[in-house]
Symmetry: C2
Subunit: 517 residues, 2 copies
């Protein structure tokens, strides 16, 4: 058994069944081994950012890592932004980066680079097996490391000769660690604070934005009167009718401060204390209002769900909690607007849908419009690096072939990793993409003012305008084999959207909005 | 004057007149300053890999750096592969990466990353001004550093607060160093070797692949009988009728060994000793034949042109050298094949054309078919990381608005940075793109066999096949505002190509080839 076969067999035995890839020469033995070791599905991407983002989306939905296969340092670089996002979302990824043969590195061939330096920032774990015998054990350790908890990117740098030499056999899967239990004393301390009568808020994120944790959080809120908040960009928020209603923190610092206004105790659960995405002149970076104290219930890697359940019990919370009642907007008619599209999605979102949300400014109304839709999952831009939404939708669809995936995309973000559409077509994935084409980096128009830059002149305005020339997403999608349309009325949009989410395979709907919104 | 203004003013005063960018919130003060400081043209890209590759193409044609403007670590990551290529081609680039405000970094906001670690591998110089007063001096130093010689990527990490605070004024431009003169003793030693009667070859690259150096190299070849070779992927090779004919080293190791067969003395001029792109089982990495000695005439950063001229003089070479006679293939007719397209390009390439060559396997016949065309420039894939060709063509067209640019693209490579087309349309750049659509990563089919992997099974074959679904480059180009067509015969191709290179603005011609070639 060669190194490449030992690697794949170890991965498969460890539960890693999909590899999102864009390989090159140094990875050819891995590719050839796909046919010799059963159980690993190779999914090809035309760009590495699609592969890494898809691995992220897959793991968010399955709870277990996919692997990637990237070509040397430059291939890793192309996938790095979405690995950044995966890191921020604590997603487990087994990130495999091909490397020159061990003896070839000394020649400084054209594609030579310092892979470990590039991978360092996004990886919680890095290893480079130097012998074929080491491939299996390192692969096993990579899978275990990727789980954390919290989940992380585990990067395996894979020299070509190690894949083509005899390796003996695979390694047994390494066990992965369970989350650490939160000490009951900490739970009791938090309970005391919340029971003391001051206004509290519970801020959940990470593993605490899933169903069981949210139900426990709802009990805590019921017992304590605490406001129930979620971090701005949860990796996966389970929501909709029958689940506790959770208000997500806004993107803009001013709005977050308004949401936290009057809160005296902020209890954070598997997330961080709110900070501004960016610094602005004369505005705070840390978004905790004066007089508010932050209390940690569960840190990332701790058992947040268990801690919330214990907290509810200590507070003597009822078993039953108030949940979001079913409620949908009416199916809109008339002219296309961003708000009407939000209502249409709220009216038509199917039960069990997976929504990958990178609609940015144009998506402002969508969370409210879908709050009472049947239960569904909401996947966010965890690390703030745009170009994540379409790859994540792709990976989520591979993970959950029986569930409809809805990919909400801003035009500017869509153009980062649009190659996702091709993989969706190739794999026949049930993804309905709605592109909001407002012809601009609208968020930057907003930010230009917020950072205190003087009124923009023509050059600055041009740098935020992407309508010269207009992007035609129907043509772009068709060029990659995806059926696409551009409805002219809300009726048409509703018909197209309903058909797309009901049908199989990928579909793209372009929504043309007035410039800047 | 704010930091952003001091920065731009210093750059402009130092001769940096174009900024290829994809900015975000942290770069808004730079963007706003574009209208307050005259002389800097902002060119927007929809993806950072386009911006960095365009900066590379611009500098190859002007000999002076452009700047980039990238958004934090993830924006840098998206542009990193083409910065790798720029590094390998010794292209000067002033690479500006926005960073969180100095006081904001401690909060570990979602987009936080270690920018210097990511930039390290591609940058010969990195600086991060911590105060607004330091922005001007650091910008000036960045420009000087970018020139080298040899040219390099100089990365300026730019905290947001440094751009919005008062900075005093700009800094004076720093002088940049001239190449080091090659000691005459070394020239004489090389002359002795070449005059001794054994077979020699002169291998030129970098600055030695430009006109004056090539004319001197032609004199050396005439006097010594040496074979005249160029590195596989020169940054910019001046060639065509009236210039000495130079044979480029092949991409495949076996072919390079055949090209060097029987050579006893290999004289390298501003390039490296040939090594294989990749390691292959039981094949050498170092491609110098047994019995051949390598002699360095000029290292990167040394005055290669002067050294070649001195060498020619020491050898008593004639002033006049044999040059490539004008010669073009006949305009082909009949069915479309890769070879016929090569001949068509050879028949129709206009004088002064700039060719960005990323045609890969499908482009095999093009160098020979264009060898006797009127003088033109040939820009190659310097670092081997695909996705460089279209951005480089974009930057070259910005640099040389009066010259036609021809962008030769393989389908797989085109899909890496296809967003280049939008910038070409937006800026009205005269770029004619020919996409060779063979529906596969054809080079990898070749490499799969060469690395000794067993005959591929269906999964492996699928990972190299990009024809499911077929990419429709006409549709993709039109989606970004670029006129496009798919000729069905060579007559049609010739008509379209001739019109496109004669016309203004961008145009794309899709050439559909049989699968795999």
């Amino acid at each position: 058994m060669k190194g490449a076969e030992a690697l794949i067999k170890t991965l498969v035995d460890s539960g890693v069944e999909v590899c999102f890839m864009n390989p090159g020469t140094s990875e050819m033995h891995f590719v050839a081994a796909l046919d010799r070791v059963p159980g690993m599905r190779g999914v090809l991407a035309l760009f590495e950012g699609v592969a890494t983002g898809a691995a992220d989306g897959y793991a968010r939905m399955t709870g277990k890592p996919a692997s990637t296969l990237l070509h040397l340092g430059p291939g890793l670089a192309n996938g790095l932004a979405n690995l950044h996002n995966a890191r921020r979302g604590a997603t487990p990824v087994v990130n495999i980066v091909g490397e020159h043969a061990t003896y070839h590195k000394q020649y400084d061939a054209p594609l030579e680079s310092d892979i470990e330096a590039i991978a360092g920032n996004v990886s919680g774990w890095i290893m480079c097996p130097r012998t074929p015998e080491q491939v299996g054990p390192d692969a096993s350790a990579a899978v275990a490391a990727s789980y954390g908890p919290p989940g992380q990117v585990a990067t395996l740098v894979l020299p070509a000769d190690v894949t083509w030499l005899e390796a003996g056999g695979p390694a047994p899967p390494a066990p992965h660690a369970a989350p650490t239990e939160v000490p009951i004393e900490r739970v009791e301390d938090v309970a005391k604070v919340m029971a003391a009568g001051e206004t509290s808020a519970l801020l959940v994120g990470g593993s605490a934005s899933r169903r069981d944790a949210l139900l426990a959080a709802g009990r805590v809120a019921a017992a304590s009167g605490a406001k129930l908040l979620a971090e701005t960009f949860p990796s996966r928020l389970e929501r909709g009718a029958g689940l506790p209603a959770v208000e997500r923190l806004a993107y803009l610092a001013e709005f977050i401060l308004a949401q936290l206004d009057g809160i005296r105790n902020l209890v954070v659960v598997d997330t961080r204390t709110p900070v501004a995405f960016f610094a602005y002149p004369d505005k705070p970076s840390l978004l905790v209002p004066e007089g508010c104290t932050v209390h940690l219930l569960a840190a990332p890697g701790e058992d947040a769900t268990g801690a919330l359940q214990a907290l509810a019990d200590v507070l003597g919370a009822p078993d039953e909690v108030a949940t979001q009642p079913p409620s949908r907007p009416d199916r809109p008619t008339g002219e296309i607007t961003a708000e009407a599209v939000a209502n249409a999605i709220g009216a038509l979102l199917p039960e069990g849908a997976i929504v990958s949300d990178e609609a940015n400014t144009a998506g402002l109304w969508i969370p409210a419009a879908t709050a009472g839709a049947p239960p569904h999952d909401w996947l966010c831009l965890t690390g703030g690096s745009i170009g994540q939404g379409m790859p994540v939708a792709t990976g989520a669809a591979v993970a959950c072939p029986d569930r409809p995936v809805v990919s909400l995309e801003a035009d500017g973000s869509a153009m980062y990793t649009l190659q996702s559409l091709w993989t969706q077509a190739r794999e026949g994935l049930d993804v309905t993409t709605v592109v909001f084409n407002n012809g601009s980096y609208a968020v930057l128009n907003l930010e230009l003012a917020r950072v205190g830059a003087e009124p923009p002149g023509p050059q600055a305005e041009a740098m935020l305008d992407i309508s010269h020339p207009d992007l035609d997403f129907v043509s772009l999608a068709q060029g990659m084999g995806v059926e696409a349309s551009r409805p002219e009325t809300m009726d048409e949009f509703c018909d197209r959207f309903a058909a797309a989410v009901a049908g199989d395979g990928p579909n793209l709907i372009e929504v043309v909005l007035p410039a800047g919104f």
